[in-house]
């Protein structure tokens, strides 16, 4: 029993945080928004040059062949920065999904280096994120998996309130030439993709939440009212402390869910859903609390909190809404053995 990250995992997360701090600050986000650019080429280059897209890619494709636990803190860092580029869905979801189909394609190697990106059309989501910048799309039809070139899909932009979220309705025609997994295999792969995506979405939400709190703390230290920084008042302190408590008790759920990801049983699925539920709740609470602490400034376009509020809103309903995840936790709670001796159970309880 060792519930701590390895040195390598901590270093990889530090690398991601550093790159994002250097390339994905709020002024840089605003500059990108002003230019209406989907992707900041230099930022994407820096992220992928450091190998962050290769973590979950198989070694045969030039990847590192690592596990969810090796990526979870990267996803957290992406949330903290409200990263516009699709590192999490591409490297955390699409790449392992494509690899798991066993389909031989040079695309996988390009995906691991970040030269190519892959968007995912999962049945849980009505729209496909970042389909316009993707080299290829992994699409769902009757449980099968299809791999399309970007040119084989027709895209309709669906504007989101999140200025950096690029959603598209994808029209396409299933054909045997593009099918890479049959329904029997595909069913398992799509379930797996949902789990991975829900887990990494939870991690992003945790990052969003912590950033919202940090923005509020910085503001509350500098903003004076009644002759003192507003952060010295208990009314403000306690608002933020309450959010921090929820952050502290989402984090170990997310990390445990990542560590146990490969077990793929009722326990781990429930834990992923638990993580998604509480992390999306705290991301929302943190953003709203941060706006409250900022006062009228918080409601303005000028203050950065709204980026985090909007991303939290989007991610709450992406990759399974709260009702779906609550039902998955309830499935475990009401159907399987309970009690402290089952916290880390490895038994495969699917019957």
């Amino acid at each position: 029993m060792n519930f701590t990250f390895s040195e390598e995992q901590l270093m990889a997360a530090d690398t991601a945080r550093q790159i994002l701090a250097d390339t994905c600050s709020p002024p840089q986000l605003r500059a990108q928004m002003a230019k209406c650019e989907a992707r900041d080429a230099a930022r994407w280059q820096a992220l992928t040059d450091s190998g962050l897209a290769a973590i979950l890619a198989p070694e045969a494709a030039g990847g590192m062949g690592l596990d969810a636990i090796d990526f979870v803190q990267i996803a957290e860092a992406c949330g903290y920065a409200a990263l516009p580029e699709p590192l999490v869905e591409h490297a955390g979801v699409a790449v392992p999904l494509l690899a798991a189909t066993g389909h031989e394609t040079p695309l996988l190697m390009d995906a691991a280096t970040g030269k190519a990106t892959i968007a995912v059309g999962h049945p849980i989501n009505p729209f496909v994120a970042d389909a316009d910048t993707a080299t290829a799309l992994l699409m769902h039809h009757a449980d099968q998996v299809y791999l399309l070139d970007a040119a084989q899909a027709s895209l309709t932009h669906e504007p989101s309130i999140d200025p950096f979220r690029r959603l598209f309705r994808v029209d396409w025609t299933p054909a045997s030439a593009t099918r890479i997994a049959d329904a029997a295999t595909g069913k398992l792969l799509w379930d797996d993709a949902l789990d991975r995506a829900a887990l990494f979405t939870a991690a992003q939400c945790l990052g969003l939440a912590q950033r919202s709190v940090h923005l509020a703390v910085d503001y509350a230290k500098g903003r004076n009212q009644f002759g003192k920084p507003i952060g010295s008042y208990q009314a403000v302190k306690h608002l933020l402390a309450n959010v921090q408590v929820k952050i502290e008790f989402s984090r170990p759920v997310i990390h445990a869910a990542a560590a146990q990801f490969e077990h793929r049983n009722a326990h781990t699925r429930a834990r992923i859903s638990h993580a998604k539920l509480v992390a999306s709740e705290v991301a929302d609470l943190a953003a709203r609390t941060s706006i409250q602490v900022h006062g009228a400034m918080g409601y303005s376009w000028e203050v950065d909190v709204h980026f985090f509020l909007k991303r939290a809103l989007a991610l709450t309903y992406a990759w399974g809404n709260p009702a779906l995840h609550r039902a998955r936790v309830a499935e475990r709670v009401f159907r399987y053995p309970l009690g402290p001796e089952h916290t880390f159970s490895r038994k495969n309880l699917y019957v």
Partner: protein, 385 residues
């Protein structure tokens, strides 16, 4: 990261489970705060535990423990709560003072105080708060005046849990004339020593769970001071760190309660408001999250880490979870929620009501949740004082 138990840990779990199955009293004991008889029955249980070397498994063997790590302690706690064994009447000793003694005590002090603590021969009360020093603990006025190789204690302590029936108390005393955090020392005294008067205070459930203590020229040897003279505040904060951080409320307590809540819901599913299902799931998730957090903290401590201000988040989390979990149980019981267990038609009300009333104290004791929020805001988030 490896979230699986070693073969050794699994064997330990099996050993604890078997021992508890053979030894846990078949009938629940009277509450230790309800009467002297209930208290002594719990003392006898502590003796039985100690005979099996289960008094405090993390302590070194020479003090009555088994020298195991915190993860193994968590396994012990899981089996303990799962078995329905009696509450630990000496928790002020074994969970609060014990770890502090281990950190600050001299070898002689450890040898003197730890073995009888593990055996339940000496049961401890805490004596921190005073009428004018509650949340503002540094306002304590009780004094310890050094006279040769003795201290003379004077003052008035209050809200001392277990003090009505316990043998010893540990408390904060200040050198005469000292102010605030300076000049404080943590000192032990016997509750039947000349000059000590203990007045029981009834809790909202009617039990005499705490007391006020008057000290009038109580002489104790300097040996009874833990840590250096004047370092009482730091010693005390270390104790509070253990209390809030890890040991006061082990996660198994809530995981077992959450399991029982699920069973309660299942029995009443056909008749209760279906929205309660989500509340039951939420309570279960809270207990899981708390357990995972404590496993994470324990893993870090084993590898040389320390508990800091994040221990304040624990205290808020478990105390709020405890209330929400029990409120959900009462909502399921509905119009029978108010019934005492002895009511003729109490049905399966069990201990939910009593445990709910107890849970209401959670946000207050061990440092009120408002103080914890200040600590989180100032020390974890860096907001100005």
């Amino acid at each position: 990261m490896d979230l699986s138990y070693t073969a050794e840990q699994q064997a330990f779990r099996a050993e604890v489970r078997a021992w508890l199955q053979a030894h846990v009293p078949s009938e629940p004991l009277e509450h230790f705060d309800a009467s002297r008889a209930g208290f002594e029955a719990h003392r006898a249980w502590e003796r039985t535990l100690n005979e099996g070397s289960w008094g405090m498994v993390t302590w070194p063997k020479e003090y009555g423990g088994r020298g195991v790590d915190l993860i193994t302690w968590l396994i012990f706690e899981e089996e303990y709560y799962r078995s329905g064994a009696p509450g630990r009447v000496n928790q002020n000793g074994i969970f609060l003072l014990g770890p502090t003694l281990m950190e600050f005590g001299t070898p002689e002090q450890k040898q003197r105080f730890l073995p009888p603590m593990a055996a339940g021969e000496e049961i401890w009360a805490q004596a921190w708060s005073e009428p004018q020093a509650g949340s503002d603990l540094a306002a304590v006025r009780s004094t310890a005046t050094l006279e040769g190789d003795h201290y003379v204690l004077n003052g008035h302590k209050i809200w001392s849990s277990r003090a009505v029936f316990a043998d010893w108390a540990f408390g904060l005393f200040r050198a005469p004339g000292s102010e605030r955090h300076k000049g404080l020392s943590l000192i032990f005294f016997k509750l039947d020593a000349p000059g000590v008067t203990v007045n029981p205070i009834a809790k909202i459930d009617g039990h005499v769970g705490f007391a006020e203590i008057f000290l009038k020229d109580v002489r104790v040897p300097v040996f009874n001071r833990l840590g250096d003279e004047g370092q009482g505040w730091n010693v005390c904060m270390a104790t509070a760190g253990f209390e809030r951080g890890l040991m006061l409320r082990s996660p198994a307590r809530y995981q077992v309660a959450a399991s029982q809540l699920v069973e309660l819901y299942k029995r009443h599913e056909d008749t209760v408001d279906p929205s309660l299902r989500a509340e039951v799931v939420r309570a279960w998730m809270g207990a899981e999250a708390y357990a995972l957090s404590i496993y994470s903290t324990a893993s870090r401590l084993i590898r040389g880490g320390s508990i800091g201000a994040e221990s304040s988040t624990n205290k808020i989390f478990w105390s709020e979870l405890d209330i929400a979990l029990h409120q959900t149980a009462l909502a399921i019981l509905g119009s029978r929620a108010e019934l005492l267990p002895q009511a003729p038609h109490a049905g399966d009300v069990g201990d939910w009501l009593g445990d709910y009333i107890f849970a209401l104290a959670g946000p207050i004791y061990a440092g009120s949740n408002e103080i914890q929020r200040n600590i989180i805001a100032e020390r974890l988030l860096g907001l100005p004082r």
